[in-house]
Symmetry: C2
Subunit: 271 residues, 2 copies
Amino acid sequence: MPQAMRPIGVFDSGIGGLTVARAISQRFPNHPLIYFGDTAHLPYGEKSPELIRRYATRITKELVEMDCAAIVVACNSASSNALDEVRLVAGRSVPVIDVIHPVVESISRQFQGDLVGVIGTRATIESGWYQRLLSEKGCMVKAKVTPLLASAIEEGFHEGKVSSALIEAYLTDDFYEGINALVLGCTHYPLISEQILRALPPGVKIVDSAEVVADAIDCLDLDFTSDIADNSTVNGSLRRFIVSDLTQSFQRGAERFFGAPITLEERTLSE
Amino acid sequence: MPQAMRPIGVFDSGIGGLTVARAISQRFPNHPLIYFGDTAHLPYGEKSPELIRRYATRITKELVEMDCAAIVVACNSASSNALDEVRLVAGRSVPVIDVIHPVVESISRQFQGDLVGVIGTRATIESGWYQRLLSEKGCMVKAKVTPLLASAIEEGFHEGKVSSALIEAYLTDDFYEGINALVLGCTHYPLISEQILRALPPGVKIVDSAEVVADAIDCLDLDFTSDIADNSTVNGSLRRFIVSDLTQSFQRGAERFFGAPITLEERTLSE
């Protein structure tokens, strides 16, 4: 396949990564994209590093077989626990972009020497990945596990008492005291960024990964800028949205995360 | 192994089924028990029936290989979607007890002709299993999906604003109006039964499965009543608690559900 026609592969444990796929689609509106949500094994955020590695490499193999030109790990839990393994499977010719390094780069430019808060799943925060990378770039870091937020958002509780009660339970005074910026270290969180912002002291800036990751793709030395004219390249569609387990609930949720009507297709992963 | 020494096998998608294991252990304090929590694949409640069947039969095979005398499906999502498959794998000589039939029997004796509410995961409620069985026994049924409750409880939010906000969001006036009893159709819910009770109109009775399942084991024509004197039979311990993915969070949560200190061991399922 000519380089300009090879799709961008994006994967996540479920449908949260569609916030990243949306940003990429808006940035490259005519470029093919394949999204893979591992709904059969979600959520990754509470699983062990070994298991996350096993699942992430299996999906990477699928995306490489589908001839993806680049792979975006749109899942913080996989980015922080399985990046080396994903790179190994992707091989040298397929660049891999995770959701953490671009965010760390962006923050270190804006908040050098500042105190940065990070919230995410258990797997993401316990890996210590954000903490280490941000420290290396000269930021001070406060990290907190906020595990139920992703499930609550996935269930549609992204406004109202449930998400408020969770934000209140997790974002306590002693956590956000003194921070200059807060990293939303999970691809679900952009859906409640307004609510989180209201809970924070004035002046704290929220950083989410979707736009920053689209920037990172822009910087790749790939032929993505020469958008193709033909709008039907990935099996007849410009974009494919695949999940490893398809239910009506995922179908409904997917449109909320992507922000536009989409159709999910199911593909069982070999076990 | 002599019948009286063969363990009772109990399985669930995660650690919620430990509420059932606890009731069984209290009823048969000297009888060996093996608990298997499929934490690598939890939660089952949001997955498709096909996938739940695949996971449930795999665990049943393990428990049969461990020479269990009876198998308890301590998971409503598996009981309502995979019972036939589990029975097939267990074979005729190993009785299988699910968490739904005993509860339906118990309710139909107490609430004949009454309106019964059922809450549970998406997989449990959408299977229509409770609704069909209760209707056949002459009860009227109102069922409601309450998916986030199990995760919230698993995360330790079993008292306070988060569980209150969820109960308020799910148990609305129009749901509980006119019901005489409410079935807690998920093995996590007993941990918030007091809070649920406070949200219901006076007089509504709550039914949870743990005790009823222990009764059902009592009724089996097995040699369980002749409790063994030797307290070390299952690989040197009276009870084993196995999970397919072991994290510190599961270890902490397990003791909350079981109500006593226990140690989890990990056993990877062949994929």
